[in-house]
Symmetry: C2
Subunit: 156 residues, 2 copies
Amino acid sequence: MKRSVAERRFATLHERSASSGLRMTPQREVLLRVLSRAADHPTADQLYRQVRRHLPSISLATVYRNVQDLVRAGVLAPLEHAGAAVQYEVNPDDHHHFVCRACGRVWDVYLRSIDYAVDRRKSPVPAATIDRADIQLHGLCAGCAARAGSGSAGAR
Amino acid sequence: MKRSVAERRFATLHERSASSGLRMTPQREVLLRVLSRAADHPTADQLYRQVRRHLPSISLATVYRNVQDLVRAGVLAPLEHAGAAVQYEVNPDDHHHFVCRACGRVWDVYLRSIDYAVDRRKSPVPAATIDRADIQLHGLCAGCAARAGSGSAGAR
DNA sequence: GTACATGCAAAAAATTTGCAGAGAT
DNA sequence: ATCTCTGCAAATTTTTTGCATGTAC
């Protein structure tokens, strides 16, 4: 049962990776296999350690490069806003964020209401208490949209 | 007008910082002043460069230490999930996240519905398009709640 | 006076890059 | 044959830490 889920996932990853023009090297294949079994949200280093068990000669740099390629290919996504330098929040008001997917900049957003319902059947969440819901809206900011509309796309 | 907002903010930061037992050194005061004027989400390095203009002799390590102290004091918050190592998302289903505020672990959450309304009057967001809303629920996971209930609180 | 804070420099952690050789298509 | 990918090692970037001295309370 669990096996077939991982296998279906692997097939998907494999196909999406191939259709993005990425070559199927042994390193990439093992990485995809590890990813297809991942239940959580692994870091590059955790992936490295997993992949290494099957391919002891792989280098950490290769894992980093592959993970980036897969992000570019849309196969993986960095969890939220992680990485790079930590940004700090000073605004004491109750608010949320809008993140531009092209330039990565963040703006504060005020919401008038939030409503959500957890699907408990599908969510094996060991939450004892939930005390806050932060929303991040993702999209294109006006500047990047204009740039994308006319000239070549300018990212990051 | 803008001045008084910053000043009110500074007073708040100053008071919260003091009531957390933090001493008011020149370095801390300038940092709080910079923070009270911050309109965006600065990194430690950006804060360092700002503070330096008023206190050229301050060291980057002091800024880092102070920012951490202020986070512990509840004056600042790290933006979302940033920092440390980047975690990657493999799950292709449409889902959201639950983050334990004690241990920092992340679980996938499935929502049946999401509803929100942007308060456009208060939000100067230059969003050309919004194509996704990611929700992060914050709280205590069962494990950390149990640990907090009995023994001493175990964090991070 | 004492405990906390600071500066400096070195260390650690996370990530990126240059380069020469190997391999996929 | 070509263009991508890899391993290795060195470089960068971000953050943390040890230690002697300074200073807010």
